[in-house]
């Protein structure tokens, strides 16, 4: 407590202090209520997914508090018995992992070039890439669909991966270039004097030092791709889609499919939530750096 702080305290009258206490209590109460309000939709999904389809149709999820016997994993059994859904989780992973790895690799190569290599118009090219940050994916849907059609990769996993990589790159290059640029020059020069080539410099010095930025980027891109529906809706194989599209295909008959939708939605959230809780710091810094996106 600073001296100023104490001075203020001392000068406060009793009534002001009581008002302050009361205000503090109200603030706490408000935050508790808002916190519960924020948790409720997710809790509702989880509890709905743990009830029988007929129970969901008859009453709300809060009934489990008075009828705990309703809790069952039957929706999940139905879900896992459905080949399409289990397969769609695999497809999601097969899209997300390469799209994340490629963005990191290609983004790091370019970020390093923009930070430390000499070539004509370097800053100008970097501006162009930064300018592409806010291009909405919607602009590319029709042209890229035509392009992929011509290349024979429309409705394939490769196409989805390439699309996500391309649209992840402006942010990746922006983030990594700024981070790499802060690497002390002496480190790179010392490695160069030891006879390291450009590639060696990149893999042995730049990539390891870029760890925190690469982690932020990786988590950001991973969640972005895992959670995507629009791109997959158009470019993924509709017979073998990722989980978001597989569930979206069931949404139009919401009431009939509510058991699969609730359990499937919760299942699709587990990986992002695990990533979120495990790497909060990196995620937050990625979000903050990406505020321009």
């Amino acid at each position: 407590m600073t001296a100023v702080d104490q001075g203020v305290r001392a000068r406060q009258s009793l009534s002001a202090r009581i008002a302050g206490r009361l205000g503090g209590g109200l603030v706490r109460l408000f935050l508790v209520v808002v916190g519960l309000l924020w948790l409720m939709p997710t809790a509702g999904l989880l509890l709905s997914s743990l009830r029988d389809k007929s129970d969901i149709a008859a009453s709300g999820w809060w009934q489990v508090f008075s009828h705990p016997a309703q809790l069952t994993t039957s929706s999940y059994s139905t879900l896992f018995a459905n080949d399409k859904v289990t397969h769609s989780l695999l497809t999601t992973a097969l899209i997300t992992v390469p799209a994340t790895a490629l963005v990191i690799l290609i983004g790091a190569l370019a970020g390093y070039a923009f930070a430390w290599l000499d070539f004509p118009g370097r800053d100008w090219w970097f501006m162009v890439v930064v300018g592409l940050l806010v291009v909405p994916v919607q602009v590319a849907l029709i042209p890229v669909a035509k392009l992929f059609n011509a290349l024979g990769i429309f409705e394939t996993t490769i196409g989805v991966v390439l699309f996500h990589t391309a649209f992840g790159l402006p942010f990746a290059v922006f983030l990594l270039r700024n981070f790499f640029a802060e690497i002390p020059r002496e480190l790179l020069e010392a490695a160069r004097l030891d006879g390291a080539g450009e590639l060696r410099l990149f893999t042995r010095v730049v990539l390891p030092l870029g760890g925190p930025a690469i982690a932020s980027l990786g988590i950001f891109q991973f969640l972005w791709v895992w959670n995507d529906m629009l791109v997959a809706l158009i470019f993924a194989d509709s017979g073998n889609p990722p989980i978001t599209v597989a569930l979206q295909q069931q949404v139009r008959q919401f009431g009939d499919n509510v058991d699969i939708l609730a359990s499937g939605a919760f299942l699709s959230m587990i990986v992002p939530l695990a990533v979120f809780f495990a790497f909060q710091r990196q995620f937050v810094s990625g979000v903050m750096a990406g505020a321009v996106k």
């Binding site: 070539f119 909405p136 981070f179 529906m229 629009l230």
Partner: protein
Amino acid sequence: MTTATAPPPPAAPRAKRKGVLGTRPWVAACFLLPALLLLGALVVYPIGYSVYRSLFDASGNGFAGLDNYHEVFTDDRIRTALKNNVIWVIVAPALATALGLIFAVLTERVCWGTAFKLVVFMPMAISMLAAGIIFRLVYEQNPDRGVANAVWVGIHDTFAQPAPFPGAHPRPTGDLAAADGGSFATKSAVRAGSPVALPLVAVKPEDVAGAKEAIPAREVAGKVTGTVWMDFTRGGGGTAGKIDAGERALAGVKIEAVKDGRTVASATSDSDGTFTLPSAADGARLRLPASNFASVYNGVEWLGPALVTPSIIGAYIWMWAGFAMVLIAAGLAGVPRELLEAARVDGANEWQVFRRVTVPLLAPVLAVVVVTLMINVLKIFDLVYIIAPGSSLHNANVLALQLYQSSFGTDVNQGVGSAIAVFLLLLVLPVVFVNIRRIRKEREGRR
């Protein structure tokens, strides 16, 4: 989670950075090639192609000039989308930022603020599809299933008395007949001293469970008396319009005496079904107002045509208020404490400190948050597509959804789809220049 590991702050100004000792341009080209190839083919080229394609008709062969753009601003469905996008862009970022600001400021004084932030920020990590399914459940119309309506109906019924006998009505043959607005009135005028019979049927059994037996009203000189009862004998028998043994009284029914369209007196039936009206009611007709029979309040139609867009905006705010909160909290951590203390010492109360010191100091952060959310909201698609049921999808339409429908969905015209794409791009273009200028400035500061 509040302390983020953003890229380290700019180092001390240095001389114009040069490449590391003698790299040749072709080496740089190798490093850049994959990125430039992908960006060129899948981001830059599509922009050009969209502009070009937007000038052609649906088939792609006939030059259409600006017709597609004209259609964007005249077609009814697209106009709805434009209108909704305007609502989205104004309302959603403002509300999310305001909530984020409130949460960020309040959590600073609470030791478990981090846990609260975690809860509010968590929806950022999940997909819009999952959030959509979550809110389909929340906004379920039936108050027995949807939590939003369950709460709403609970509040409503606390303040508005529910109707005692929803759905009840008289027999078609009796003296009571349907009048305007769902009420029932006697065809003949009533006389003081001769008790009136007001028989009703179609009363739900649970509404008369435990009700007393109905009794005929006593004659009272100068007053209008009568009985309201359920004119139905369990197990059959009984006469229509007569109070038979075992028939139940309807308590709490409101009765109005109406003369020349004006209500001159009113009463409420007792537990034995009888009521007494003053002499003013002599010669009037008796009316049972609709409030006695209104059907059970069923809550708000959240996903109906009128409310679907505000409801979906609610789901969006649930997802993105955490984003605003985290950015603002980071900005708040950079506000010098001495300034706030100085204002408090000068006698400012907490609200004045917030309004006159904190908010102005946070203005740059607030601007970044609002602009980011605006760009984000312009492209909103998944939430609308998932939450809006088929019947109100048109009412919830937004540009990105219409673009999808025009390009690949129900009403394909890729000329129009491309025009919408170009329009969206034009809307975010100013931000490109802002970003570039910001980076230029940073650069110059560094040199």
